[in-house]
Symmetry: C2
Subunit: 277 residues, 2 copies
Amino acid sequence: MTATIGVFDSGFGGLTVLRALLRRLPQARFVFLGDTARLPYGSKSRRTIARYAAESAQFLVREQGADFLVIACNTASALALDAIQDAVPVPVLGVIEPGAAAARAASKSGDVLVIATDATVQSHAYAAACRAQGLRAIEKACPLLVPLVEEGWTDHPVTAEVFRIYLDELLAAAANDSLNPDALVLGCTHYPLLRPLIERTIAHRAPAGIQVIDSAESTAEMAVRLFNGPAENSAPGAPGRPELRFFATDSVDKFERLGSRFLEQPVKGVELIDLGG
Amino acid sequence: MTATIGVFDSGFGGLTVLRALLRRLPQARFVFLGDTARLPYGSKSRRTIARYAAESAQFLVREQGADFLVIACNTASALALDAIQDAVPVPVLGVIEPGAAAARAASKSGDVLVIATDATVQSHAYAAACRAQGLRAIEKACPLLVPLVEEGWTDHPVTAEVFRIYLDELLAAAANDSLNPDALVLGCTHYPLLRPLIERTIAHRAPAGIQVIDSAESTAEMAVRLFNGPAENSAPGAPGRPELRFFATDSVDKFERLGSRFLEQPVKGVELIDLGG
């Protein structure tokens, strides 16, 4: 039997994680749910995020038969991983731990920067995960980056200026704490679309070099290690052509239109579901 | 008996409308609901917005005894005014019609610009309301302005640059249609906080002059005309000290912290409610 991997995000940013998974597990069956009616999670409270995420996880497991869940949303991973694990009887992988593990592999100084949404930063989940890896982390909320990506300004002077401001504040905070950061974790699934702009800005502002960590890639790598057993034992359906189903709780048109940018292939046939609320 | 006026928004931007109402109806009782667990409405579909708004309106009328409702949210007014009117047995006033009426009073050329969220613009509710007033309107979605206001960058060079880009696109579209706009409607309750920046930018880019229309003010004026009867007949409680209750569906702390900027007075004692979802 082919393994079914459920991938969940509050929106479609998590399609960057799905893209990384597709490259590594081409024979799995993927079911992606974007809880778009209730996004963004990044500005909401832990209690609300936990309820939304648990309901979404239950849909993927109970109604879509997911054997594993990847929580492709930093905010839900940071604030609701426990709640999701309690809500469903299958293994659940979030994006925080793989991001921190990749930062440890990349950092020589042991000091890392993390950019994320308000809620992710306030949870200090990255700081805790980095500490568990023996790293010191400085986190910063960058609430303008998601709307800039969604406006399509991924290579725009305004976005470069906004990121420069955020980066300078981060570097000043690091200097203030006598830290010497050499890695920057992209703690939001929207941010990989800004990676070229981020790397250009870093080259100007931090000439000593800061390596950019895309937690979508590191999460997919960890998922492969965890899930490969069942996937390898599966009967290949059509090799190299994974099965894909998309669900959203709102605005299928917008999901298909914007989602394609994140998945880097057309997103079609998105099905509208109602999780109540 | 004192009239109870229910004021509803998806978030706290509608506090700019409440502020305008408070100045004009100091003896009324106000109940404000921010459906913050489900914001922003601006990027969601009509069906979802209508359901959320109807549930919120029912809370204000059935549970809080509101005699009138002011929908202090452009998106809900644009997409869900009918659904709200069907859901509750009291008079309901949105912000679109008052904004269009104020534009008619201000415009000599009959050509007006409207800036708003994605969903409000896609509904073309302002264009229709302006047409009913004999005006021609060009609408533009400005999705970055709300996050910039919420970041607190109301007087920031980045915000000025973003607004300049949006304004230039609007003026180019107007010129392309041979229109000669002399009024700009702020079609989102967050935008009044940008009014000084918007007026400065207009002075540079449109020297012939464009008058800025704050629909919060025009809505409050229309509310006074509609609701003044019951309010005038009411026994004054404490003159000049209106009764105020605040409800939110999420993150009371954030509501109190950010809300004070919009109301221009402290927002305290916000009560958390659950509308399901």
